[in-house]
Amino acid sequence: MLWKRQIPILIATVVGLLTLFGWFIDNPGIESFVNDDATQWFDILASFAIFLGALNLMKLQGRKVLKQHSGWQYSLFAIGGFIFAIVAGFIYKGNDAVAWGVHVTSKGTLFKWMFDFIFTPLSATMFALLAFFVASASYRAFRVRNLEATLLLVSGMIIMVGRVPLGSSISSWFIMYLLVLVGSVAANIKFQDKIITFGVLLGGVVIVTIWGSLAGWPVDQPSIFYLPMLQDWIYNNPNVAGARAIMIGIGLGIFATSIRYILGVEKSYIGE
């Protein structure tokens, strides 16, 4: 019980307090421990622990092949890939002119070939899938279901169009005409009256046209309706405000959780 409960809590408390308050103490030893030694200890531990993971992976995949579970053929690729990487990393360099160690990054070696022509394209393929998933996720998120979804759609459209070269070619007066059109549609939904709808539309068009004529139709004026400026404002104001609110919550959450670990209040991590 002592080894599985009290000792781990004691280690977490001591190292946690040292890391937290070490930042305020002007002592090179503590500073070096917090910034370098502690993280290096973790890296060393993690490096040894990789054997556990690799053995577990091989055990599961091997069992799948031996018992011919569904999809066992894929496990052959996993086992084959693992053995191939071990051979290329530790047994066969493929180029005797290169020393062991640097062979993982030197051209002409088996490991580098594996990295460049198998690993990198496969990773890039998975990453490229993201583009399609973003499209499908955006399709669902941008459907006009309620006010919030509509706001998301409108701001998303403004950001997307405002950030591409086409966006800077769209005159703010065109956006104003669009807004007049949207306003008249809203008036029609609200009042269900053709005369009011026509009045809003005509009044809006006349006002925008007179205003534009007097101003000389500058593309980027009034700037509030110019898409690059508008997207910039949305990105730097409402977006940042929301993001900072979330950040403050996350920061407090991390702080409170860390304090709970340091004080030994939260003991779930040792299974209690």
Partner: protein, 280 residues
């Protein structure tokens, strides 16, 4: 009394010239001390039996519902504790929530599949899941291979988890931990197989992806509150109340700083609050 003693000791230390203390970090030190004291105060209140009201968090309520759904459908629960190691507080939080989920799967006799991307997370996850199954009186249902290692690489891990999803078609997918670009790949695949999905992360850039693709998302602090909420332990609930108080305190500090900054810009006061608050 302990707090008073410590405060007095620090004042004496400060007046004695505070050797070895980084003076320029005093504001941060005081902030941390006040915040930690607030948390400890509410934890002690909770230990004394004080009852706190907790706002309902739909995502956490849905965890049990998701496990129940998996039981009804006879399909496994897939739990992904992020792609980072145990040196990240989000991973630790994710592994702790795994303990609560494992209790539920033990209770409902539902199979649990936890693919991980770090060996240390695998060991920690196994220990916590084993403990949960034992606590629920079902150690016979626990197998070491419930929590299994896939790979350390981000996209290889995503490919592996996607393969598990497509082959096993779990009824519930839970993503709790630190995520990067693979978040949407995982969540969209989970969506495509019709699984009920609950995500929790403090990775700010991934929150919109999870909100879009998952049924419930624990955003930031909600994720860290999950352990307390699911366990209902008084000392943890006290910590949550303390966290809410800190939020009120930070909000007040932001408003006060805003006014002080405005007064400084107008020249009404000759002191800039930003210089005072900036971490040295």
């Amino acid at each position: 009394m302990v707090a008073g003693g410590l405060a007095l000791a620090f004042i004496v230390f400060w007046l004695a010239g505070h050797p070895g203390f980084r003076e320029e970090r005093i504001v941060m030190f005081l902030a941390i001390t006040i915040m930690a004291s607030t948390l400890i105060y509410f934890i002690r209140l909770a230990n004394r039996g004080e009852k706190f009201h907790l706002r309902s968090i739909p995502g956490l309520k849905a965890v049990e519902e998701a496990v129940g759904r998996s039981t009804e459908m006879g399909k496994p629960v897939l739990y992904v504790p992020g792609i980072m190691d145990m040196d990240q507080v989000e991973t630790v939080a994710g592994v702790i929530i795994l303990g609560h989920v494992a209790k539920m799967t033990a209770r409902y006799e539902t199979s649990l599949n936890v693919p991980v991307s770090r060996s240390i997370v695998m060991k920690a996850g196994r220990e916590i899941a084993r403990e949960s199954y034992t606590m629920e009186g079902r150690p016979d249902l626990f197998q070491d291979d419930m929590v299994h290692y896939l790979t350390d690489d981000q996209f290889a891990y995503a490919a592996g988890v996607n393969g598990i999803m497509v082959r096993e078609k779990p009824a519930a997918c839970l993503y709790m931990g630190k995520f990067y670009a693979e978040s949407l790949i995982l969540a969209e695949t989970g969506n495509s197989i019709g699984a009920i999905q609950i995500a929790g992360t403090a990775s700010q850039a991934q929150i919109p992806f999870f909100v879009t693709a998952c049924d419930y998302t624990l955003i930031g602090e909600e994720f860290f509150a999950a352990s307390a909420y699911l366990s209902q332990k008084p000392e943890l609930l006290g910590g949550l109340k303390g966290q809410d108080m800190l939020k009120a305190f930070v909000t007040a500090a932001i408003l006060l700083s805003l006014f002080l900054r405005v007064f400084s810009d107008l020249g009404w006061i000759g002191w800039n609050v930003i210089d005072f608050l900036t971490v040295q």
